[in-house]
């Protein structure tokens, strides 16, 4: 059953072949069997899932019309709220925090009759690219459990890759959906900024964060997007766009599409990785696309910009974690000052502390112009560069990551860790829709993804291109150990 796509699963539930209860039990059993090893789930919502499943079976038996995602178990990254359930954000600070309201995404999913099955592991407060920064335990890559699944949405990627759930949500601030998708050999999508409501997503970089789906195929991405790409009155940055069908007319070719590739910028990539990428581009040509050489040399500054802006925003977004109103208050604190200083020391992991300090630094008096304001200006240059390219191209294609999943502890140099995001952060800086779709394997047989980007609001264009590529490339997405 777990080899079925979400789309297929829903069909079989709809036509009576499968009961929702069966589906829920099946996936709960898989989670029970594998999650501990994979470290993919922080909380399993078995009671809730079975209750929903039973309710769906009952409503179906009454002949009621059910939602777009009826019967589909979905894993939720543990930085999005399900009312009444614990949201930890992968942090010790929030081990006892019960969400007082539903994230709009979770509400939309449940409105469409999805079965929310568990909260997945992540780098603490979504800060990281390997899921090694979770305060609880790391998540592992199902293709090789000695390797990281990527981050920050490592748990969700691992869960979908190992077929512990057909769909999962992640959040992407600088690549946190696309990179784990690439590392785990599945599809990961970051919508246009504002396309999916951030209400109920614990904020990291407010002008960069987007919630998006993980799936084993592009059609499933299209399916879940129909449920979650909706306007939300609680989020001022939410786009109010008339509903768009992502599922309709998914193409199998790229005829007439002009795809920009930043060849010069890719020159310094690892030779083997570049070869593999070139082969992917040949496939795009074979599908009818016209490949255009584009200049994205400005992306060399994108990591610097990202780490200034994202940490600046994060330093204020995380200021609310002070041990006063919620979260773990330090038992060692006596005076008020101690509550702040100790709770934040004891509650936050090192990476989070570093980013808060950096973010505070770039905003502080005497440094703000040189760092924060400067970064905002160079961000404009990146946005303008993309705008200019998209006048000539429908899409841009580039790698997701310079390399495939690495072994735990392999990257210790912080700059090296950050530089992995070089191909992904600019989509967040410019608010563009971007997808990672399985494109092959490296010499260690670890998955590698291919990235497509398009202008803001052209989510369908990205999904279409990914679909066409996927159908032609036919990359296996099932790690043997979990079949």
């Amino acid at each position: 059953m777990h080899l079925l796509s979400a789309f297929e699963l829903r069909k079989r539930f709809e036509n009576g072949e499968l009961k929702a209860r069966e589906i829920a039990e099946h996936f709960l059993a898989r989670i029970d069997k594998h999650s501990k090893n994979l470290g993919s789930f922080l909380h399993v919502l078995d009671e809730r899932a079975l209750k929903k499943a039973d309710e769906l079976d009952l409503r179906k038996s009454k002949g009621e019309k059910l939602g777009l995602l009826a019967g589909i178990p979905i894993a939720i990254k543990d930085n999005m709220h399900i009312k009444g359930e614990i949201t930890t954000c992968g942090s010790k600070f929030l081990t006892n925090y019960r969400a007082p309201f539903d994230a709009s995404v979770c509400k939309f999913l449940e409105d469409q009759d999805a079965i929310l099955i568990g909260k997945t592991n992540l780098d603490e407060f979504a800060m990281g690219s390997s899921n090694e920064n979770s305060a609880f335990f790391p998540a592992k890559n199902p293709w090789n459990t000695e390797c990281v699944p990527g981050g920050s949405s490592g748990g969700s990627a691992a869960a979908v890759s190992a077929r512990l759930a057909p769909l999962a949500t992640g959040s992407d601030t600088g690549g946190s959906i696309r990179q784990p998708a690439s590392f785990c050999g599945i599809v990961g999508y970051k919508p246009t900024y504002g396309r999916v409501s951030r209400y109920g997503l614990v904020a990291f970089g407010s002008s960069l964060d987007q919630i998006g789906p993980f799936a084993t195929c592009v059609e499933d991405i299209a399916l879940i997007m129909e449920a979650i790409a909706r306007p939300c009155a609680h989020d001022s940055t939410s786009i109010s766009h008339p509903p768009e069908s992502f599922l309709e007319n998914l193409p199998t070719d790229l005829k007439g599409k002009r795809i920009g590739v930043p060849w010069k910028f890719l020159e310094e990539m690892d030779a083997k990785a570049l070869e593999a990428f070139k082969a992917n581009i040949e496939q795009l040509k074979a599908l009818g696309a016209e490949i255009v050489d584009v200049d994205l040399s400005i992306l060399k500054y994108s990591i610097a910009i990202y780490y200034i802006l994202a940490t600046a925003e994060a330093s204020t977004n995380l200021a609310r974690f002070d041990g006063i109103r919620y979260g773990v208050r330090s038992p060692n604190a006596k005076a008020l000052e101690d509550i702040y200083d100790f709770s934040r020391d004891e509650g936050f992991g090192k990476e989070v502390k570093k980013r808060i300090l950096l973010g505070t630094h770039v905003l502080s008096s005497g440094y703000k112009d040189a760092y924060y304001k400067k970064a905002q200006k160079v961000r404009t240059l990146i946005i303008e560069r993309y705008n200019s390219i998209f006048k000539e191209c429908d899409l841009i294609s580039m790698p997701v990551s310079p390399f495939a999943a690495f072994k735990f502890g392999a990257i210790t140099d912080p700059i090296q860790m950050y530089l992995q995001d070089i191909f992904t952060v600019s989509a967040n800086l410019a608010g563009l829709p971007a997808i990672s779709v399985p494109a092959g394997f490296d010499h260690n047989k670890m998955p590698v993804g291919l990235q497509f980007l398009a202008p803001q609001m052209k989510d369908k264009t990205v999904i279409d291109a990914a679909h066409a590529f996927e159908k032609s490339a036919k990359i296996p997405t099932m790690p043997e150990a979990f079949a």
Partner: protein
């Protein structure tokens, strides 16, 4: 302080006034904007800083800010944005306030205020929207935080440093309060802290045009405290400069922030410039810019009610009140609305004004009550004056009736007069006539004066009769009788 010393120096004061807007819901949260309820009952996830919550701007708060801007003749920003202002404190739900630093909604404007009889112009540098913090309640060995007020909408009105005395500061603040009240933007209830002042104060030798170091006194919520604190600080600075005249003045007064302690009537240092807060302002990414159309602004302008300055002009020119009386009334909208309500029942504008601002005010001065706190309807004041005007009662009787009204605020003056025989003027000619005769025969000079054209003499004679009747005679009847007798 010796007058001669004080006069050698000029005070330079800038005021920041925070007015809590009276919208139904809060600035960025849809929780009720209400005072006095049980702690933490008027909250949402937004105003308690829950992770994952997001702000959304209250349209009505924007409208009130625009109305204020138009009332002070300011330019309304055509591109206004919000910023995060970071600082840690338990009453702050997010440890950053959402305010407007770069692009405030209201630009430069002016307000006029009467300072000791002289009309002065004051410049407002800008006004902006922001949200309020919660309330910290201090107990002996702990503190309690109530977030009911957290997120309440505030308009902060920042003056230029164009105020030069505590009296000017108070007059300016009262004028601002009046405007905010008149446009219906805030109830300005000062006990509830809906209007708060921060003053930036420095001094300089008279004639000097440079600005010296200033100190800030925060969070005052009364005009009296504002004047007292300002005067205290001005004197403190002058003394320090005088004592340290050999030092460079930049070393004498350090920039610092104080709060006014109303018990000890002194200022208490909160922090000095060295440890000044670094608020790390940056644009609020969760909120969109607001671009207001000319049509929208014009619509708000059309809906503006009568402003204090216009009402003042109307009182002086149409109702013929003195500038002083008009000023007292118009500075407090509730009071002038009350006055206008009373005018529905009597056309004697000056007398009604007098009864409200002098007679009743005088009687209530030391009781801690006001006409409003007692609940005496404006209609009753109007009717009281009408009774005097129709000569149903004398002015003297009216004072007693007023006392009765204060004792039992719901009683109608007509009913009071009717139910007390001592109040009803004696209209019985047979009782009054002998007294009239008595007065006339005792005052031959007055009769001559009157016949010579001196009208005052007539009034004197009437007064004498009233005196004999202990004010109880009907003035109309007395007038009549005297007239008859003198003309005969």
């Amino acid at each position: 302080m010796k007058k001669e010393l004080r006069e050698k120096w000029e005070a330079v004061i800038g005021l920041e006034i925070h007015a809590q807007l009276n919208t139904k819901s809060k600035m960025f949260s849809s929780a009720p904007n209400r005072f006095g309820d049980e702690p933490n009952t008027n909250i949402t996830e937004v105003c308690t800083g829950q992770p994952g919550a997001l702000p959304v701007v209250n349209k009505e708060a924007v409208k009130k800010a625009v109305a204020f801007g138009l009332a002070i003749g300011a330019k309304i920003s055509d591109f206004t944005t919000f910023d995060r202002k970071s600082y840690f404190y338990p009453d702050s739900p997010r440890n950053f306030q959402i305010t407007q630093f770069e692009n405030p909604i209201v630009g430069r404007g002016t307000v006029f205020a009467d300072v000791d009889g002289v009309k002065k112009e004051f410049i407002i540098e800008h006004a902006h929207l922001e949200d309020d913090a919660g309330m910290l309640k201090h107990f002996s060995n702990f503190a309690g935080v109530d977030y009911n007020r957290a997120g309440a909408p505030l308009i902060e009105i920042v003056s230029e440093p164009c105020i030069h005395s505590p009296q000017e500061a108070s007059a300016y603040a009262k004028a601002i309060k009046a405007i905010v009240q008149y446009i219906g933007a805030s109830d300005c209830n000062m006990e509830q802290g809906q209007l708060r002042f921060d003053a930036n104060i420095s001094v300089r030798p008279k004639g000097d045009t440079t600005l010296r170091n200033k100190t800030e006194i925060k969070n005052m919520n009364s005009f009296t405290f504002l004047e007292l604190a300002a005067e205290a600080e001005i004197e403190r600075q002058i003394l320090l400069y005088t004592e340290n005249h050999h030092k460079p003045h930049t070393d004498v007064i350090k920039q610092g922030t104080y709060r006014w302690d109303s018990e000890t009537k002194s200022i208490i240092l909160m922090r000095t410039k060295e440890s000044a807060a670094d608020y790390r302002y940056f644009p609020e990414p969760d909120l969109t810019p607001i671009v207001l159309s000319k049509e929208y602004i014009e619509k708000v302008r059309e809906e503006l009610p009568e402003l204090p300055a216009d009402r003042f002009d109307r009182y002086v020119s149409e109702l013929e009140l003195s500038a002083y009386a008009a000023s007292i009334l118009t500075l407090d909208k509730t009071l002038s609305d009350y006055f206008e309500e009373a005018l529905k029942y009597s056309s004697c504008t000056k007398t009604v004004c007098n009864w409200i601002t002098v007679e009743f005010a005088g009687k209530l001065k030391d009781t801690g009550n006001t006409l409003f706190s007692l609940g005496i309807p404006a209609k009753h004041i109007g009717k009281l004056v009408d009774l005097i005007d129709k000569k149903t009662i004398t002015g003297k009787i009216a004072k007693s009736v007023a006392d009765d009204m204060i004792k039992d605020p719901k009683r109608d003056p007509e009913e009071i007069v009717n139910s007390n025989p001592d109040y009803k003027p004696v209209a019985d000619t047979s009782t009054i006539e002998p007294l009239v005769d008595q007065v006339l025969s005792n005052n031959p000079t007055s009769i001559e004066d009157y016949k010579a054209g001196k009208k005052k003499a007539f009034a004197f004679l009437v007064g004498q009769v009233m005196k004999l009747t202990k004010g109880k005679a009907s003035p109309a009847v007395v007038n009549d009788l005297i007239n008859k007798k003198l003309d005969s």
